[in-house]
């Protein structure tokens, strides 16, 4: 019984990527795994239920370099990322078989987590478990920290969110509405624009792909300027935003998805606006703010239960769909938070 092994499908990272990643940069393989934590270890063996596709993972596919804030993937090893799982066996006193957890896991059916201290036990199960890859996971805390904590929002201020229907953007817009801000989002299709207005309550939205002049588009939506920009895309959009910021504006720099696959990054020309308008630009990453997770979770669960907050996911079915789901983020194929269902509970 102790030596029983089962087949474990896995997605292996082939090699470092330059430019746009392709499906076959990630390879589906299978190996056997024993469904228990090695005796005497503090490891945890989990069955993965949901895996998260997040833009930051593109950074881990590049050769280790100065602009990456997390370690690169190891060629030949399994892809890693956030996920939700159920504990099958545990050598760690904090976890026992049956526990639901979220945190960094592997793109595989079963993962042996050797340092499980980073896993978080799932507290509320009256919501979809997949939400712990989104609103109750890294993207949720990212939106909360970047907007509520770092952008000093005030009622009545104007807020612009790019990549606004994505995992983080849809929450930023809703958090801004809860504070009483005026919120406009940009996205890459009419379907997403409609979603922003009808589902997430943005005051307005536009399809950036149909605007030949982003500066003009922003002037149209913000005739008096932007107080807070939640930056998810970078490049030309940032350049246009700088021209449209108000004095004492704040820019929370969460990511720059338009730039991740470019070898030479797009030029930004309008940084002198930082001085003339006394703008604060603050880059941040969620792991620095984990201590805020408990307070964020309590806030978000109440909002969800009482219908003040909604969350839209794009669920790919099956581990074998994970590579194309991840790659789809960079062409905006996903509508809402991209997640992969590995197993049905």
């Amino acid at each position: 019984m102790a030596d029983e092994k089962v087949s474990n499908k896995r997605i292996i990272f082939k090699d470092y990527v330059t430019g746009f990643p392709k499906d076959d940069d990630m390879i589906l393989t299978s190996s056997d795994i024993e469904l228990k934590a090695p005796s005497g270890s503090a490891a945890v063996l989990i069955k993965n239920l949901y895996l998260s596709c997040d833009p930051y993972m593109r950074g881990k596919m590049s050769k280790p370099g100065v602009q990456s804030y997390t370690a690169a993937f190891t060629p030949g090893s399994v892809i890693t990322g956030y996920g939700v799982g159920r504990v099958v066996d545990s050598g760690h006193p904090n976890f026992q078989a049956g526990d639901l957890v979220w945190g960094i896991t592997g793109w595989e059916e079963y993962s042996l987590i050797k340092a499980p201290e980073g896993l978080i036990k799932i507290k509320y199960t009256d919501v979809p478990l997949s939400y712990y890859t989104g609103i109750f996971g890294m993207p949720g805390l990212t939106a909360y920290v970047g907007f509520n904590e770092l952008s000093s929002p005030k009622k009545g201020e104007t807020v612009f969110v790019s990549a606004a229907s994505g995992a983080v953007g849809q929450l930023v817009g809703q958090f801004a509405k809860l504070i009483g801000c005026y919120v406009v989002g940009s996205a890459g299709s009419q379907e997403k624009v409609d979603l922003l207005k009808s589902k997430f309550g943005f005051d307005d939205a536009f399809n950036y792909k149909e605007e030949h002049d982003l500066n003009a588009a922003l002037k149209r939506h913000f005739p008096d300027g932007i107080d807070i920009y939640f930056e998810n895309v970078g490049g030309a959009m940032l350049d246009a935003v700088l021209l449209n910021m108000r004095n004492h504006g704040r820019i929370a720099v969460c990511g720059m998805i338009s730039q991740y696959n470019l070898t030479v990054k797009d030029a930004v020309h309008n940084l002198m606006c930082l001085v003339s308008k006394r703008i604060r630009m603050q880059g941040f990453i969620e792991p620095d703010h984990k201590h805020l997770y408990p307070q964020f979770l309590e806030l978000a669960i109440q909002h969800i239960r009482e219908g003040r907050l909604v969350y839209v996911e794009d669920v790919a079915e099956g581990l074998e769909k994970a590579p194309s789901a991840l790659i789809g983020l960079f062409s905006g194929r996903n509508v809402g938070k991209q997640v992969v269902r590995v197993a049905q509970e």
Copy 2:
């Protein structure tokens, strides 16, 4: 007696400038002026002693536009800027004849200041009066606010200052040394580099004009990276600095003198470093922080009197030299704070 008029030499702003300003964009003229405040007015008539040449004045020479934070000069009217003067006549209860003041005045021998509330009475006269265009004026408060207030410096941190021998930069470096930071400056000549090290106590300095690779130059001077960058130049230097910042670094954006005469601003490519290194960039202008002037003045005067702070000025003699002195800022002709002596006291 009351109607007695004297000749008043003045520098007139000819018309809006594109690209590099030239001497003849400013015209020396003369008109007559009555040396008294109009009866019944709250105006103050001052004799100008020193006029300040500051990079921000280039913004006022362009057609009014989005990137300028002060009103443009009026074609056909006298150039305005910071200066030091003596009150000749006053209709305002706060000022009387003989008072020494600093604040916004005209580029002329005598100025009628119609709203003198912005003038500050000079408190300490055991220092050169010209210092009130520099260390005890706008550049001094700019250095103090941008470094001590906005950059959260800590002992032992590494600090990089560009345009380091200028009116602001030389002070930032000295303030950083007073806190116990490691400070390197860049400047545009060997003479200035020597000054930084021998006179202002910078730990090291380099001539950016002799470095073909700014990224390599910064790596050489900061093998472990930069905690605080005091940004005076913009463009290629900023792009190289971004690659060399440390995690949680701060960039105080004071100005971008390399960009002021460019119609199309230089490209900056490395802003993704803001996220990966969690950098805060804060643009600021001194007028927002005037309330800190009294505390700054007390601090700075003690440091000057006790020899912990020095200030180097480049003094042009005579109002007629003012246009070329101002233009010289943009080619780095000045060594230290550029000031114009209009009259000997």
